[in-house]
């Protein structure tokens, strides 16, 4: 996308609001809907991947060391990962925008 959605004028809208570039939803940032974010305490994490399975976005990915971390470009801050974590390794903290 050449322009972010909030930069588009009405003249930029294609006829019928057709999206001519298929599969571009991955470029759509949902992370800015968030008011709170998950913080992982790696000392407590046992790399079980339960958070990865429950994340509805799904935006939790495995990093090079095997930890499951949230991709904050997409994470909406719902807190399900923190709720489901059996080791209480994830804390939800308020975020200033």
């Amino acid at each position: 996308m050449a322009k972010k959605d909030f930069e588009l004028t009405w003249k930029d809208i294609p006829v019928g609001s057709i999206v001519h570039e298929p599969g571009n939803a991955s470029q759509y940032q949902t992370g800015d809907w968030r008011s709170q974010m998950p913080v992982l305490d790696k000392a407590k994490c046992v790399k079980c991947g339960i958070c990865y399975r429950f994340c509805p976005e799904p935006c939790i990915v495995k990093d090079d060391d095997g930890y499951y971390v949230s991709d904050l470009f997409y994470c909406k801050g719902c807190g399900i990962c923190a709720y489901e974590c059996p080791k209480d390794a994830i804390t939800i903290v308020k975020e200033e925008h």
Binding site: F6, D12, V15, G16, I18, P22
Partner: protein, 391 residues
């Protein structure tokens, strides 16, 4: 060579759809539109029209099927009336916002309740905000001509909007009258094959009907509004080209004896023919009256309308639907909005009648003019009155 044939308005519409080599018809029968789809169904069964006829289970499905058909680039027609138009209501907005050139004939009918299958404009007016191009034909010839033109207008690359061709239920849809039916040869290249520029194609995938968050929805809406307002020139060009070929002429606003008219009646639909008889009689009596027939309803031809009523001191509206609890009916609201604040704006009053199949005779239109004059002379603060309703 054109043949002079006798037929209902419904059959005339079906002939126009056949001559247009329509690819897909998806429709559900409902009075008073039934004869249009019955005739098309026969034509497809008999091989006169090589189209796919999709027998759907409701009008909501009919319009939804039309979306898909039009989106792959097929010439698409449907037809409905009254409750059927209401059932497809939410899908109508998708057709216009996705810029799909569907053509639909509507045999305008009253809305329930009480249940009534006869003609008025309640259904048409309920869809006036849905983004379609909408115009009215007043007899079999007009609905034939205007249906044929509708394909050319809708599919034009400067337009790409769905078009609704309105005809009064029963008074046009079921009245047998003569009209000129051209043959393929005479039609020539007036209506070229459809060439929809953004067809759904697995080899070139696109997304239609995607979601738009607050960051961009308003821009989409403005783009659509600007686009539909810019279709005026193409609509008139198509009608002018049709006029040159077939010598039958259509204008967004039609006038009858308005040149020096002091009181002008504004109305929509086939009852204009009764109103014209009344105007002729009153003219013979020396009264300076005239008639303005709104043909193109959406997008509203603002400048042409203002021009048409320029001479009038008084404007009277007759319309066939109500806005329950509103200040006036929908046509009067449009007229008042169009004229408010213009230099020498006329006095305006309005009448609502012809509901659910009730007739209006030329004599009643004469009475309407008389009552309007009384309202103006006595400076009565009357927004609207009903006419032809027992008190």
């Amino acid at each position: 060579m054109a043949k002079r044939v006798g037929a209902e308005g419904s059959f005339a519409v079906a002939e126009a759809v056949r001559l247009a080599d329509t690819d897909v018809v998806a429709a559900y029968p409902i009075t008073p539109q039934t004869h249009i789809v019955e005739r098309l169904s026969e034509m497809v069964a008999d091989g006169e029209l090589k189209a796919n006829f999709i027998y759907v289970e409701s009008e909501h499905s009919a319009m939804s099927a039309c979306l898909g058909s039009s989106a792959v680039g097929a010439r698409t027609f449907t037809s409905t009336a009254g409750q059927g138009l209401e059932l497809m209501h939410e899908v109508l907005y998708l057709a216009s916002s996705m810029r799909l050139p569907i053509v639909m004939a509507v045999a305008d009918r009253a809305l329930s309740g009480p249940l009534n299958v006869w003609g008025d404009h309640s259904d048409a007016m309920a869809t006036r905000e849905c983004g379609w191009i909408q115009y009215f034909g007043e007899n079999a010839q007009e609905v034939f001509d205007l249906t044929l033109c509708a394909f050319k207008i809708a599919e034009h690359h400067d337009v790409l909007f769905p078009v609704m061709v309105h005809m009064d239920g029963f008074h046009v849809s079921h009245v047998v009258e003569p009209y000129l039916l051209p043959d393929k040869e005479e039609l020539g290249d007036f209506l070229p094959p459809i060439n929809y520029p953004y067809p759904l194609d697995p080899n070139k995938p696109i997304t239609m009907g995607a979601f738009a968050p607050p960051a961009v929805y308003s821009e989409c809406r403005k783009a659509q509004d600007v686009a539909v307002n810019s279709t005026h020139a193409t609509i008139e060009n198509v009608w002018n080209e049709f006029g040159k070929r077939f010598d039958r002429h259509y204008k967004p606003i039609e006038t009858h004896k308005t040149e020096d008219a002091e009181t002008i009646l504004v109305s929509i639909g086939s009852f204009n023919q009764m109103a014209a008889v009344a105007v002729d009689k009153l003219r013979e009596e020396g009264k300076k009256v005239g008639l303005v027939r709104i043909r193109l309803w959406r997008p509203f031809p603002l400048q042409a309308f203002r021009q048409a009523v320029k001479s009038a001191k008084n404007v009277v509206i007759f319309e066939r639907s109500m806005t329950y609890g509103g200040t006036v009916g929908p046509v009067c609201a449009e007229v008042k909005s169009a004229l408010y604040g213009t230099k020498g704006a006329p006095r305006i009053t309005s009448f609502i009648g012809g509901l659910g199949g009730r007739d209006m005779s030329p004599k009643q239109f004469e009475a309407l003019f008389k009552r309007a004059q009384e309202i103006f002379d006595k400076n009565l603060d009357i927004q609207y009155e009903t006419i032809g309703v027992r008190e």
